[in-house]
Symmetry: D2
Subunit: 257 residues, 4 copies
Amino acid sequence: RSPLALIAGPCVIESREGCMAIADKLVKLSKKQNIPLVFKASYDKANRTSINSYRGPGIAKGLEILSEIKEKYNVPVLTDVHSVEEIHIASKVVDIIQLPAFLIRQTDIVVAAGESGAVVNVKKAQFAAPWDMAQVVKKIESTGNTKIMLTERGASFGYNTLVADMRSLIIMRELGYPVIFDATHSVQSPGGKGDSSGGDGRFAPYLAKAAAAVGVDGMFIETHPDPENALSDGPNMIPTKDLSRLWKKLSAIDEVK
Amino acid sequence: RSPLALIAGPCVIESREGCMAIADKLVKLSKKQNIPLVFKASYDKANRTSINSYRGPGIAKGLEILSEIKEKYNVPVLTDVHSVEEIHIASKVVDIIQLPAFLIRQTDIVVAAGESGAVVNVKKAQFAAPWDMAQVVKKIESTGNTKIMLTERGASFGYNTLVADMRSLIIMRELGYPVIFDATHSVQSPGGKGDSSGGDGRFAPYLAKAAAAVGVDGMFIETHPDPENALSDGPNMIPTKDLSRLWKKLSAIDEVK
Amino acid sequence: RSPLALIAGPCVIESREGCMAIADKLVKLSKKQNIPLVFKASYDKANRTSINSYRGPGIAKGLEILSEIKEKYNVPVLTDVHSVEEIHIASKVVDIIQLPAFLIRQTDIVVAAGESGAVVNVKKAQFAAPWDMAQVVKKIESTGNTKIMLTERGASFGYNTLVADMRSLIIMRELGYPVIFDATHSVQSPGGKGDSSGGDGRFAPYLAKAAAAVGVDGMFIETHPDPENALSDGPNMIPTKDLSRLWKKLSAIDEVK
Amino acid sequence: RSPLALIAGPCVIESREGCMAIADKLVKLSKKQNIPLVFKASYDKANRTSINSYRGPGIAKGLEILSEIKEKYNVPVLTDVHSVEEIHIASKVVDIIQLPAFLIRQTDIVVAAGESGAVVNVKKAQFAAPWDMAQVVKKIESTGNTKIMLTERGASFGYNTLVADMRSLIIMRELGYPVIFDATHSVQSPGGKGDSSGGDGRFAPYLAKAAAAVGVDGMFIETHPDPENALSDGPNMIPTKDLSRLWKKLSAIDEVK
């Protein structure tokens, strides 16, 4: 039985140095607690609420940084993509291509992700039911690629609010692929601050524990040394310094569940 | 630190013998695993979907059976009430008066429950936000009674569906009272079978684990030796024989969380 | 074909004089525009958010005022009830007994309303699907009473928010009874102001127009000469002086729909 | 005051002949009832539930057919796009570029639509609140393009269900742009049939009437001579033969509202 995996990193690459510093801390944590780690960072926040928000360094610079982290730390890396072209480029560098929740109904993008040969992590859309993921899975499988992961990240619950339905973890697991719980986006309040998304990061550790108890293959956690000053999704993120203590809990729950 | 408590029993009293048999099994379980137990049963299902459904033995006969169980097993008993009059009668027998979710906005009933001097377990309504419970709590506190428990049992999520928002356990705990998770009603599909409520009891153990990981003071679980033939809420209930194994898990999660 | 009916009045009886003044204006409006009018007022807001909120003059005083209005203006009157006992008392005075949304699953109350012989107006619960009303209707029909009205007043949509699903008017009409649209409660934000319910009354006329276009038998509108200073549900109400102009629109839509 | 506009056509172009036949009927209707008409058809259903579903003739063939309709009937045409590249190509032919609901958070696509100089019709996402559209509008306005239309097409309401919140029409109108109501997608049940979306087209005319009564600038209606045999979204569509009678109602409601 494999231990609980951790997919973690900043929401967006703010700088090479900042990204490396977070990677450094995560790699140390993964070694200390023997955690299968995937480093995650976005080169472009292509779907920010406001046009004035920071988007990232772009695909070229971003992949360069992810590539450097991959080599330096010998850790698999994940990034999210927003078009067929980006998939062609990103899949040459990263180990895991992530389909953003808003895009999982775009057949061409889903199929291109499958055809890339990379592992494909599908974020379940806020507008989708867990059983709806069967059709997304079939689209990827149609390419012959069965390296699929499915991630819960909250469902629409009235306006500007998400709710994490823990049953979804069981229902998606029945599709036969690893299931991940995204603890930090599940507490997001989409568009909740008018020109940016709000959320309440203090609930993220609790939801992570809940998901570990239900049973998942990994946790997706966005982290930042200083969430209050993060350039994207600060309100949801877990401070990097809190991860060590949290993971001891998650790991223990995973073992006894 | 007190161990996780268990509030359990059948949905409705089907017969004196059936009720005693379930109590017997639960008391044995509580002794074996050292679980603080509250025995729960309803004398009247006053809010069945259909007028043709079984409602129970009535308040007189039902309280007699609960009284017998209380004495025989020296276990506290809980029942739900549906009017001020029922509170006056039931609070003479039971230790915990439970306010059904649909009735928590009825000020007279809430106040009467407080004035009864019994412990009051409030089921959060399907139509209420967790922070809405602050006002219900104030109504009970206005009577001088602070023996209050708050129970999550799922929130309305579209038609005929509930979702258990695990954040609610944290938000309600901040009101300063013990929080209970109702694992079997949270998986209910209200009115989902047309003339009765459906649901999917196979999710109940998972949601119970999730709640234990978030942190609760107790679990509320409706159980039946043969859920398929139960006279009420069969689709949601956990078979009595499965409780021993489940509780080992819940207890272990509660300890490491 | 009968013209669109109007069920209107203040949320709660604030005083005999205030209630009479509103009745006077409504009766004048009904005569001028030839509107079948039912006067509506509550003697007790039994389910206020906060224990400190005004509840009303009580059943004795309240029914006296309703009785006076009924006689003076020769207009049918409606009030809502909260227990079997209240039904016995109120049905001696009022023409229409209204079952509050939160209470429509309480079989004894539903049956007592049916047995009273009065017309029964059932408010669809915030937690109920439109098709769930079939079972409530059957409970009333079981008493031999088929003088039933069904009222849409919004469904739970995330926390502290309601949404009016216009399809519900069609679905409920298929049950064979008159359907009413409650324009002022449908825009309520339940518990939305912390210790009271909020809402946005400016949407009420629009939703009323929408419902008229879909097709209903009547409108339920709470009105007050000065909503900002109303003792209950002020944020949702339509100012009495606006009703004349609104009704011309509603009536015209009803005719061409 | 301009009369209510109609944006109508088949969901997807099934064939040149089929498309022309529908256009022919719609143009005749628009002349007879003096309706400002926009012909709508998709060349590619890029977000079908299942990978096995029909997607359309593709962008080249599709735009050719739309171009032919535009010239033959002198009617503006609308189509939806799924990438920046498609916007570059389609905006050379069509008058109105439509941003699909799932894609309105993709800044590059939104900005490219603005930069195309075409009129941009934004479908409000199922996961978005009406006030969230302010940020999408700002993204388009940032390009200097203010030819914007906003379309309501239902909001997520639990799993596989949408609800049309009529308040959204008012809230979006306050952004200063024409507001359209999409009557046929609002009754969709996304993914509701497992490998395709279901829905209940019989509610579409009622919701259209409701929106007309609230006040909109236009209606978006997908239509087919034989919805049961349509290759996409059949369950929601309004039969073409029913449009004439429906429009008389909508137009009358629009005038008296």
